[in-house]
Point group: none
Chain length 400, copies 2
């Protein structure tokens, strides 16, 4: 029996509450001897660490740098190597597109076709406003293709998402993207016999859009990559008997939460808004995922000072979480985003679990280094949810 | 999807370089309060540890004492429980026998047969020189057996290796060894129907060799154990897109490296020769495995002082490795060989990884005890290669 099935069978529905605060991309490497987390003034997180059991988590496994999809799935208690999210799904979630069970999505670029060749794979990076207008026009002119409802959704600059809706669509499709410029457009190919119909629909769409855009100087065709269907993921209600809510102000994380069955609460764009929505909804859910994005964004920018400052802002909100007296409060990250690397990395995440039932350890500061000395040791992030359930008294005994 | 397949798919071929220095059997237990590593004066390793991420590795799993084969396979990124090397293979590698895909090898002893019984399983431990002469004579007189080319290779004292070459040979064979003295010789038995032909060949060889040696007073028959075929192991090039080189002056380690696709560089017998060959070949490979054997040998001898001295000699060579500025330098061991035990043990190995992207931790000394406080925690040795690839920027992101 797989350990996740064992856990599912042991879950109890109780009134106890779990709060999971994710500081996206928190972990970092030192500059002048300190990481942003070490350099930040974080009296609340440090006090919490002193009262908590601490450790380090690996999102996938040692040395593997995760994307946001797998690293979040792990934190939500799913084995990220078992449940894989196609790039098209994440892109769709990122522009707030709802994806259902009969949908096939892909991420797409507007591109420039000239004399039968793709001469610019990004259509000169057209402005987002132009993209929005083009998508509106396409949606106005498109009719269903072989029975598949087809809609496009604008993203930033030349990027958009296309969604096909019809029962039986498949995603075993090659990219409709020649990958390099100066070559003719490229159709998608079915990788299995079952995907032939889908390939036909996708390629007919490519022809249609090229016809619709024929008067455009730059954005007169498209490329499509990462075809993906809605992943069939059992919800957190089903697996863990939780009533989960997501408080996140970036579309991708809202979409990811929805995928695992969370109710996605409306929230403003400021960091403090997250905590206000938490307070307002505390009575109505048993699990809260609160997502702070900017720690990651500034890591991606290589902006050490700004990352440090966001950490301090998040620290200042911690008392609001504690004031509601949740049975379990976890503060951690989904992955590291070192300023030095300006991107995600494999370095493990600082982790603390605060609960009446947590074993306090020798850690008195919340940092990468300090957590490496914690009572929890270093463990796979997908075990974190089991720990939260246990500390919230939501798990029965295994065996007699 | 298995995690090793995930890793293979993420590998990138880059110019960055990885150096893996293995101090064989390094880990030890204290005598008068200090292990040889703690007692040694190792300013270079200690400085390195202070700048590195440190930890402890388990070659197989907690409490399991590994042989050299599995412990090295783990360090080379292979799951040692999946790829198993027969004892015959290791013995063959140890006496520098090349083993190919149609070969079946076994380790063998000369033994004494008298009145139809094995009276000495080691033929009185005949001198190695006599062994060499006997093997030459056997090779001169032997003709192919049922189409199998058969050659013997002398080892130390009474030990030799026998190699059968023929397409379709199998190794599902019991040992041709009565295990105790005073009992009749014992033939090998096929454990599967497919191995019947091989059993016939092996047993015919046993009869032939007994005929050839009939005039010998002591070494007048043989025992054979550990029948093994060439293991089909994907190379490090295939799995990790590395261009690997081995710098080792003991045959078994050279043979092991070859099994996983390393180019085995010619090298002298002194410790400093290893580092000279490294310097000379630095431009031509992306992965270097450098093997220092004597830490293990002195551990096997129970010679604490000599082991301490070898550690100091290796320490003195560290600056030569750093001078080439590899992207990643790892110093560790394959297994522990405590002087107290005069043999391999299960104790985990001190491990350090030095890289611009490594998280320095609180460890400032390279020792068993100090590494247990490291940021990397305690982890399976087979994850070490993933860490090296990550720190050398040779791994792409997993998922989006």
């Amino acid at each position: 029996m797989k350990s996740q099935d064992i856990i599912s069978e042991l879950c109890l529905e109780t009134d106890s509450r779990i709060v999971l605060l994710v500081l996206d991309g928190l972990g970092d490497l030192p500059q002048d001897g300190k990481t942003p987390l070490e350099a930040a003034h974080t009296p609340n997180l440090d006090r919490l660490a002193a009262q908590s059991a601490c450790g380090l988590t690996d999102p996938i496994s040692m040395g593997i740098t995760p994307g946001s999809g797998p690293s979040h799935l792990a934190l939500f208690g799913y084995d990220p190597t078992e449940y894989q999210l196609g790039r098209g799904i994440l892109e769709a979630l990122g522009v707030n597109v709802e994806v259902g069970e009969h949908d096939l999505v892909a991420r797409a670029n507007f591109a420039t076709l000239q004399d039968g060749k793709i001469v610019d794979r990004r259509a000169g990076r057209i402005p987002t406003a132009e993209n929005i207008q083009l998508c509106e026009r396409i949606n106005r002119e498109l009719t269903p293709i072989e029975g598949a409802e087809t809609v496009v959704f604008p993203g930033m600059e030349h990027r958009f998402v296309v969604k096909f809706t019809k029962a039986g669509l498949r995603d075993e499709l090659t990219d409709a993207d020649p990958q390099k410029e100066g070559t003719p457009p490229c159709y998608s190919q079915a990788l299995t016999p079952e995907a032939e119909e889908s390939a036909g629909i996708v390629n007919a769409f490519l022809d249609r859009i090229t016809t619709i855009l024929r008067d455009q100087p730059r954005a007169n065709t498209a490329l499509m990559r990462g075809f993906a269907r809605y992943p069939a993921i059992p919800t957190m209600q089903e697996r863990f008997r939780l009533k989960p809510a997501a408080i996140a102000n970036y579309p991708m994380y809202r979409g990811l939460s929805k995928l695992v069955g969370m109710e996605v609460l409306p929230v403003g764009s400021e960091l403090k808004d997250l905590f206000e929505v938490f307070e307002q909804n505390y009575q109505d859910f048993s699990f809260f995922y609160i997502h702070v994005k900017k720690t990651d964004s500034y890591g991606e920018d290589g902006n050490f000072e700004a990352k440090r400052a966001v950490i301090e802002q998040a620290d200042a909100q911690i008392p609001r979480l504690l004031a509601t007296k949740p049975e379990v409060l976890v503060v951690t990250a989904d992955h590291s985003t070192p300023c030095l690397m300006k991107g995600h990395s494999w370095h493990p995440n600082p982790f603390l679990i605060h609960s009446r039932l947590a074993q306090p350890d020798l850690v008195t500061v919340f940092s990468e280094k300090a957590c490496s000395q914690g009572y929890l040791g270093r463990f796979p992030a997908r075990n974190a949810l089991t720990l939260m359930l246990a500390h919230a008294a939501k798990l029965q005994k295994y065996g007699a």
